[in-house]
Symmetry: C2
Subunit: 140 residues, 2 copies
């Protein structure tokens, strides 16, 4: 399961993308709009800043803003930053001591295929892809 950290991070990024060009957005506003505890969001946003996804400005008039354009973020990099990895099994982690069973493991090829698939899925999706209005209906 994707943790709340990953899911909330995505919602913060979407929120900031929706308010692009409005300068610094205070976390308080995001927390209210998204209905998530501001205190908890602090932890998440801190990691996003540290990971180079966001820019934070202290002081009055401060807040957060996107560093890149929404189409220059992939969902994959955001999730991977928050979740640590997207790998489904430890054997696939970079630098993992390769399992002694790796050469004969009958499941490893499946995990590799799986990892490739989900990696492709999330890295093929841009933040901007999530902004699309969902078939809006205009009443006349």
């Amino acid at each position: 399961m994707i943790s709340t950290k990953g899911r909330y991070a995505l919602r913060v990024m979407i929120d900031l993308a929706q308010h692009e060009g409005e300068g610094n957005i205070p976390l308080k506003d995001i927390a209210e709009r998204q209905d998530i505890s501001k205190k908890y969001l602090e932890i998440i946003v801190k990691e996003l800043v540290k990971g180079g996804m966001l820019h934070g400005v202290s002081g009055k008039g401060g807040g957060y803003s996107l560093i890149r354009k929404p189409d220059e973020y992939t969902v994959g990099e955001i999730l991977e930053l928050m979740e640590g990895t997207l790998a489904p099994v430890a054997c696939l982690l970079e630098g993992a001591d390769s399992c002694p069973r790796a050469d004969t493991c009958l499941t490893l090829p499946m995990w590799k295929d799986y990892y490739e698939m989900i990696h492709g899925f999330f890295y093929g999706k841009k933040l901007s892809d999530l902004l699309g209005s969902r078939d809006p209906v205009y009443y006349i």
Copy 2:
């Protein structure tokens, strides 16, 4: 991440498939071949029996055996039994009180697509698909 329960369960099922037609296979043998604590495997195998995947016979000469043919199990049903669900987010669970944000949630469609993809991946794979010899090399 797929837990050890899911991964070990798959290895137990593979082991039993490899010894199909040999009657009851004692857990002790499986534990030794797979190099997994027998005590821990007991927990896993118990769930497999309860879930209708295996047949267990007590007493001397007892052990475990597959109920169906290896091509009549999907990897998906084995993993889902052990992991509880394959859903990436709680909002997608059957019977989940639908999130109040569901109607306007910008991420939900992505999670649905993702769930559909991984569900298809694992339910499209049969236990027998994992048995294949991996390009064996015959030395002359």
